[in-house]
Subunit: 127 residues, 2 copies
DNA sequence: AGGCCGGTTGACGTTAACGTTAACGTCACC
DNA sequence: GGTGACGTTAACGTTAACGTCAACCGGCCT
């Protein structure tokens, strides 16, 4: 049903990455597009895989980790061990994010304090 | 008042990093400990700087960015431009974190779906 | 004296994730 | 039939943030 296929630069443009990057992902075994002659042709499924890779990247997963994420979507990999290790990684990410949010909150608070001090100093100067 | 100074391995142990890392930060101009002869001596202020660096690291700031964070605590740098650019970076971090949290939520949802499918498949096999 | 601990300075090695040429093919268009 | 725009492979370059030696020194214990 979903007819449309994509060229490499279609995807590069859509996701704002370079074609080199996409080829690199293939080199690392994360994508396996078909070929028409020498030219790569990407299916919607490939596009989805790319989206997963980029989402993993935003979360700080390595390409290897993104690979296992992708494999979770492949029915032939109903591997419980993989599932559990992936779940563990995601849980770790979650706790990292919580730490980071805390860090950010503290940092913003400190910045506001610094601002206050600066304003005070300016007020004194004006006297 | 606060008497205690620290050796390089004190700090390395406390923050679970290597001494090489601490020297590297000095090499990059983020720390300037005093010396007793050749040996580095770290004051509580140095320790605080190190904490700031590591917090920045957790947030994905580069060492250069951490350097400007440190400079915010130095009274001689009441620089408004720096303050604003730092604030902008922190805001950007915040929005990245929001994106990441969303990514994680979606990912966990998808994992739960994958789990359900796997359980279904196992149930069918049992029949 | 001998040995170990902890510190020091180079200086080269490493890793991930691409960037950057170079050198080439192929199609549509004018 | 030239000229872009787009595609290809191959291979070397880059960057940050350390790791990993090697070779050395000073102090303290026994």
């Amino acid at each position: 049903m979903a007819r449309s296929n994509y060229t490499i630069s279609d995807l590069a443009a859509e996701f704002d990455i370079t074609t080199r990057t996409i080829r690199f992902y293939e080199e690392k075994g994360l994508l396996q597009p078909e070929r028409s002659g020498n030219t790569r042709i990407y299916t919607p499924a490939d596009r989805t895989k790319l989206k997963l890779i980029l989402r993993g990247k935003r979360l700080g997963f390595s390409l290897d980790e993104s690979r296992s994420i992708i494999e979770m979507y492949d029915p032939s990999h109903g591997n419980t061990d993989q599932y559990n290790s992936l779940l563990a990684k995601i849980r770790e990410k979650r706790s990292q994010l919580e730490q980071q949010l805390h860090d950010i909150e503290v940092m913003m608070l400190e910045l506001r304090e610094a601002e206050d001090k600066a304003l005070e100093a300016m007020a004194k100067d004006k006297q």
